[in-house]
C-alpha cells in the first residue's frame, strides 16, 4: 500500500502529520485499494454508517425534549410530535430509521453469508459485526420501551422476564434488571441511559470493524484474494465513494417514503396507548426485525431451553468461520451451497412470519420445523458441505472473467497472460 510513504505537500501539513498522522489516515482512506468488481450488495456498509449517524443525530435531538419518567414519557413524546418544531419529522426518522438500520444490516449479513466474507482472514471483522448486531438489538429493544406505550411496557416485561428462566439466580436477576418488582420508573430511566450509551459503543466497534476490514481488504463477488493495488482494484475515492453514494440515495428514497407517507406502518398500534400495568394487550409482538428469534424462542416448549435456543441462534453465527469448512468463499462457485443459502433465506423469512402469528396449531409446527432447519443448516449442512461439495473452477483474478467475457476459461486465461 502506498500510504506508508505518504508525505503531505505543505510544510505545515508535514509538521502536523509527523506529530499526529491524521493526513496519512485520510490518504489511506481515499487511496484504499478496493476490488473493482464489488456489486451493490457491498454498498450496505456505507448505508449502515449513514443509518448509525442518522440515529445518533436524531436521537440526541429527541433526548433534548424527551422526559424519561413513567408518568411523563408518553406525554413528552406527544409533545415532541405536536409542539416541538419538526419534532414529528425527527421522531419519525428515528423510529423508521431503526427499521431501515435493521433492513440494511440483514442485507449486509446475508451478503456476507453468500460471498463467504466471514472466512479467513476476515473472522475478526465478522465477529465484531456480530457483536455490533447484538448491541443493535439491545439498543432497538430499549429504544422501543422509551415511548412508554402498551407494547413498550409489555414487550419490556416479556423480554426481561426471559432472564427468570436462569436456574436459581433468575428471579434475582430480573428484579435487579427492573430496579424493583415490576417494570416501572427505575426500569425506564435505566433503559434510557443504556439506550443513550449503546450507540456510542456501536460507533467504537464500527471503527474497529472498518479497521479490521482495511487489514486484509474487501472480499469480492468472486471471493478470491487479490493483489493490492493492482488492475483488480480501484482507489476508494472516487470510485467506491460515488457508487456508495448512489446506492445510499436509492436507499434514502425508500427511507423517505416510510417517514413521510407510512410512518407508523412498521410500528404497532398498541404503542399509541399509554402503558397500563393493569391491562395486557391481546398479542404481544416484538418489532419485525426481532421476529425470527422470537419464533425460535416460542417454538421450544421449555422456557429455559427456549431462551438458550434463541441466544444460540445468534451466537452460532460467531462460530460460522469455523463451521463452514469450505475453502471456497463465494457461493458463485459453490453450486450446492448456493441452493442451501437460498433455503436458509426462506427459512429465516418463514421464521419471521410465524413469529408475528399466534404460537399455536400449524404456526407452531412450522416454527418448530423452521427452527430445527436453522440449526441443521449451521451445525450439519455447512460443515459437511465443505467436504462433499464439488466446487466450480475459481478464476485467477477478478479481471479474468471480465476480460474473458466468455465461458471459455482457457481463452480467458490466455488473454490475461498476454496483458500481464
Amino acid at each position: 500500500m502506498s500510504d506508508h510513504d505518504y508525505k503531505p505537500k505543505s510544510k505545515v501539513g508535514q509538521w502536523f502529520n509527523d506529530r499526529l498522522p491524521l493526513l496519512t489516515l485520510a490518504n489511506h482512506l481515499t487511496d484504499y485499494p478496493t476490488p473493482k468488481n464489488l456489486n451493490y450488495w457491498w454498498t450496505f456498509g456505507g448505508i449502515l454508517t449513514f443509518c448509525l449517524i442518522t440515529q445518533i443525530i436524531t436521537g440526541l435531538t429527541l433526548a433534548m425534549h424527551y422526559i424519561a419518567h413513567a408518568d411523563m414519557a408518553f406525554e413528552s413524546v406527544e409533545h415532541i410530535m405536536r409542539d416541538v418544531n419538526y419534532g414529528w419529522l425527527i421522531r419519525y426518522i428515528h423510529a423508521n430509521g431503526a427499521s431501515m438500520f435493521f433492513l440494511a444490516v440483514y442485507i449486509h449479513i446475508f451478503r456476507s453469508l453468500f460471498y463467504g466474507s466471514y472466512k479467513s482472514p476476515r473472522e475478526i471483522i465478522w465477529i465484531l459485526g456480530i457483536v455490533i448486531y447484538l448491541l443493535m438489538m439491545a439498543a432497538a429493544f430499549m429504544g422501543y420501551v422509551l415511548p412508554w406505550g402498551q407494547m413498550s411496557f409489555w414487550g419490556a416485561t416479556v423480554i426481561t422476564n426471559l432472564f427468570s428462566a436462569i436456574p436459581l439466580v433468575g428471579e434475582g436477576i430480573v428484579t435487579w434488571l427492573w430496579g424493583g418488582y415490576s417494570v416501572d420508573n427505575p426500569t425506564l430511566t435505566r433503559f434510557f441511559t443504556l439506550h443513550y450509551l449503546i450507540p456510542f459503543l456501536i460507533l467504537g466497534l464500527v471503527v474497529l470493524h472498518i479497521w479490521a476490514l482495511h487489514v486484509p481488504g474487501n472480499n469480492n463477488p468472486v471471493g478470491i484474494d487479490i493483489k493490492k493495488p493492482s488492475k483488480d482494484t480501484v482507489p476508494f475515492h472516487p470510485y467506491i465513494v460515488i457508487k456508495d453514494g448512489f446506492a445510499l440515495l436509492m436507499f434514502m428514497i425508500v427511507f423517505a417514503f416510510f417517514v413521510f407517507y407510512t410512518p407508523n406502518i412498521l410500528g404497532h398500534a398498541d404503542n399509541y396507548i399509554e402503558a397500563n400495568p393493569m391491562v395486557t394487550p391481546a398479542h404481544i409482538v416484538p418489532e419485525w426485525y426481532l421476529l425470527p428469534f422470537y419464533a425460535i424462542l416460542r417454538s421450544v416448549p421449555d422456557k429455559l431451553l427456549g431462551v438458550v435456543a434463541m441466544l444460540s441462534a445468534i451466537l452460532i453465527l460467531a462460530a460460522l468461520p469455523w463451521l463452514d469448512t469450505s475453502k471456497i468463499r463465494s457461493a458463485v462457485f459453490r453450486p450446492l451451497y448456493k441452493q442451501f443459502y437460498w433455503i436458509l433465506v426462506a427459512d429465516v423469512l418463514i421464521l419471521g412470519y410465524v413469529g408475528a402469528m399466534p404460537a399455536e396449531g400449524l404456526y407452531l409446527l412450522i416454527a418448530r420445523v423452521a427452527t430445527a432447519y436453522y440449526f441443521l443448516h449451521f451445525l450439519v449442512i455447512l460443515p459437511v458441505l465443505g467436504f462433499k461439495e464439488r466446487t466450480l473452477p475459481v478464476p485467477l483474478s477478478i479481471t479474468e472473467p471480465i476480460l474473458g467475457g466468455s465461458p471459455n476459461l482457457a481463452a480467458a486465461r490466455h488473454r490475461e497472460s498476454k496483458i500481464k
Binding site: 473493482k36 468488481n37 456489486n39 451493490y40 406525554e75 406527544e78 409533545h79 410530535m81 405536536r82 414529528w88 419529522l89 419519525y92 427499521s99 433492513l103 442485507i107 480501484v234 472516487p238 470510485y239 460515488i242 457508487k243 453514494g245 448512489f246 446506492a247 440515495l249 436509492m250 436507499f251 434514502m252 428514497i253 425508500v254 423517505a256 417514503f257 416510510f258 417517514v259 413521510f260 407517507y261 410512518p263 407508523n264 406502518i265 412498521l266 404497532h268 398500534a269 398498541d270 399509541y272 396507548i273 391481546a282 398479542h283 409482538v285 419485525w288 421476529l291 423469512l349 419471521g352 412470519y353 408475528a356 402469528m357 471480465i402 476480460l403
Partner: protein, 259 residues
C-alpha cells in the same frame, strides 16, 4: 441496471412482507374516500370543522382529548378556525386555575393556550360514570387502533341488533366491527343529533366521516406539512440520484468494468 432493478424488487418485497405480517387480523371495514390519503393528501377544512362540532357536542361528554390545545384549532393544517373563533371556543369552557394570591383555586374562561378541558377529573371518575369502562382519550385514538380511520369510521356505523344466541349484559351493546363485538359505548350518533351550521345533512354516515377526519387530524396535526415536505424531499432525492448515477457512469468509464 438489471442489478438495480433486482435491488429495488428485494427492498419492496421486504416492505410488503413486513406490512403483511402486521395485517394479521383482517376485517372488511367500511370504505370511504379520505381526502388526507395519498401523496398530496390534505384535510377537508369544512369536514374538520364539522368534525370538531360532532366531537365537542357528542364525544366530549365522555372522551377527553388531553394533548390538544384550543390554539391548535386555528393553526395551519387543522380545522383553521379564525383566531377569534378559536378564542370564543376556548372561552366557552370553564378552566380550573390557581392557586391565586390567596391560595384559592378558581375557575376562569378558557384561553387559546389551555389544553382541551377534560370531561372527568381522573380515570376513576370516568370509570365510575361509565359502568367501569374508561372512555379512551381521543388525542391519538386513530393511531392506537389497528384499522385506523377505517376502523373508527366503521365502528361508529357498526351498531346493530345482536344475532340470535348472543346475549348482552346491561350496558353492553353489539357492534360488528368491535373486537369481540361487545362494546360498552351506546351508539353515539343518530341522524340529526347535531345541526351543522353549513347546512350539510347530519346523517350518521356524514357525521362518522367528519368526526373521524377530525380525529385523524388530532392524532397527526402535522400530516399536511408531512405530505408536502415528503413530496419535495422525494423529488429532490430522485433528481439527485439521477445526477449521481450519471456522474458514477462517467467516473467508472475510466475503468474497464461494469457498474
Amino acid at each position: 441496471m438489471k442489478k438495480l432493478f433486482k435491488l429495488i424488487l428485494i427492498l419492496s418485497f421486504f416492505s410488503l412482507y413486513s406490512a403483511q405480517t402486521f395485517a394479521a387480523e383482517k376485517v372488511d371495514y367500511l370504505k370511504t374516500d379520505w381526502s388526507f390519503k395519498g401523496l398530496f393528501g390534505k384535510f377537508d377544512r369544512a369536514s374538520l370543522q364539522r368534525g370538531y362540532q360532532v366531537y365537542t357536542e357528542v364525544c366530549a361528554s365522555c372522551h377527553s382529548m388531553k394533548y390538544l390545545s384550543y390554539r391548535n384549532l386555528s393553526e395551519e393544517g387543522g380545522p383553521e378556525f379564525s383566531e377569534a373563533a378559536a378564542k370564543a371556543i376556548a372561552a366557552s369552557f370553564d378552566v380550573k386555575d390557581g392557586p391565586n394570591a390567596d391560595g384559592e383555586m378558581f375557575t376562569r374562561p378558557g384561553k387559546l393556550s389551555d389544553k382541551f378541558v377534560m370531561p372527568y377529573d381522573n380515570v376513576k371518575a370516568a370509570q365510575a360514570a361509565n359502568g367501569g369502562a374508561y372512555p379512551p382519550d381521543m388525542s391519538v385514538l386513530v393511531k392506537a387502533r389497528g384499522g385506523g380511520v377505517d376502523y373508527i369510521y366503521s365502528l361508529l356505523q357498526g351498531y346493530e341488533d345482536p344475532p340470535s344466541g348472543v346475549t348482552l349484559d346491561d350496558g353492553v351493546y353489539y357492534n360488528k366491527y368491535m373486537y369481540g363485538n361487545k362494546i360498552r359505548m351506546a351508539a353515539p350518533l343518530s341522524d340529526g343529533i347535531v345541526e351543522y351550521g353549513d347546512g350539510t345533512n347530519a346523517s350518521v354516515e356524514q357525521m362518522s366521516k367528519d368526526v373521524t377526519t377530525f380525529l385523524m387530524w388530532a392524532a397527526e396535526p402535522h400530516l399536511e406539512a408531512r405530505h408536502q415536505m415528503g413530496f419535495k424531499a422525494i423529488v429532490y432525492l430522485i433528481i439527485l440520484t439521477i445526477l449521481v448515477y450519471f456522474s458514477m457512469k462517467k467516473i467508472w468509464s475510466r475503468v474497464e468494468s461494469e457498474v
